[in-house]
């Protein structure tokens, strides 16, 4: 009978990583870290702005605002990339 084993896949630099004492090994894909940041900003803004009666709509309103900010950032990036490519 084969013994039951588990294999946890982790990138090699992550195995030696000590949280809070060493920086996270993020060489690529760091741009995706802007998504939780924008989501956090949207949640805090809507938590403060929404009146007590509409507080139930907080998840929808926050997601809507975060999506708007991310879409505008993507649009601005596309526009600037096109401009630098043209001129």
């Amino acid at each position: 009978m084969t013994p039951w084993t588990t294999t946890v896949w982790m990138p090699a630099p992550m195995l030696a990583w000590r949280p809070f004492l060493e920086p996270l090994p993020i060489d690529s894909g760091w741009l995706w870290l802007s998504v939780p940041l924008v989501l956090g900003v949207a949640v805090v803004y809507k938590t403060i702005k929404l009146p007590q009666a509409n507080l139930r709509e907080l998840p929808q309103e926050s997601l809507k605002l975060a999506a708007q900010v991310l879409l505008f950032m993507a649009f601005a990036a596309l526009l600037l990339t096109t401009l630098t490519w043209l001129f």
């Binding site: 809070f20 939780p36 956090g40 900003v41 805090v44 938590t47 403060i48 507080l55 907080l58």
Partner: protein, 187 residues
């Protein structure tokens, strides 16, 4: 007593109001105190600075306070996870620290980082191979960690300003943080 007014016309003649009942001490004690000015929740703001969302919870806005605590706390902790304790550095990055210090635990992390750095500086000349105890962040982890922690501080500043002028959840309940009236009742 012969000098007490017997009728309404006697009251008017003696200068008392025709409709108002005679003034009694019991009525005076039941009179509602008027607040002296707009309430500024200073103690709640201090609590909100010490721990994000705590000021809102103290004023009775529990849901709002919990959402702020989880969100701002997650952004701040996320920054520390990305860059480590070295991203909070009052000595080398004082401008960023202005934003970071809006979350009070940043002061504790800065002190801890300073201790780690001092310990390393003391050992570096005496031991051949020094374990630094921590690795300072550079490049993208430093940029993102600093940005996350500073943004958490600025968002908490927004929450502090909000709680400073926010009314308690129920105006008729006693608010120990109002400070604009001895009874703490805010109209």
């Amino acid at each position: 007593m012969s000098n007490a007014p017997a009728t309404i016309s006697d009251n008017v003649a003696s200068g008392a109001s025709a409709t108002a009942p005679p003034h009694t001490p019991q009525k005076a004690s039941r009179r509602r105190r008027e607040p002296r000015g707009p309430g500024v929740n200073l103690a709640a703001a201090v609590l909100g600075w010490a721990l994000p969302g705590l000021g809102h919870i103290a004023l009775g806005h529990t849901t709002r306070g919990l959402v702020l605590a989880v969100t701002i706390g997650s952004i701040w902790l996320g920054g520390l996870l990305i860059g480590g304790v070295s991203v909070i550095d009052r000595r080398d990055h004082p401008a960023w620290f202005i934003g970071q210090m809006m979350v009070a635990p940043s002061w504790v992390v800065d002190r801890y980082h300073d201790r780690l750095r001092q310990a390393w500086n003391q050992r570096v000349g005496t031991e051949p191979r020094v374990d630094r105890g921590y690795i300072p962040a550079h490049g993208k982890p430093e940029e993102l960690g600093t940005l996350y922690t500073a943004l958490a501080g600025l968002l908490n500043l927004l929450a502090i300003i909000d709680v400073l002028y926010r009314k308690p959840a129920r105006s008729d309940e006693v608010n120990v943080f109002a400070g604009d009236d001895e009874t703490g009742v805010v109209a």
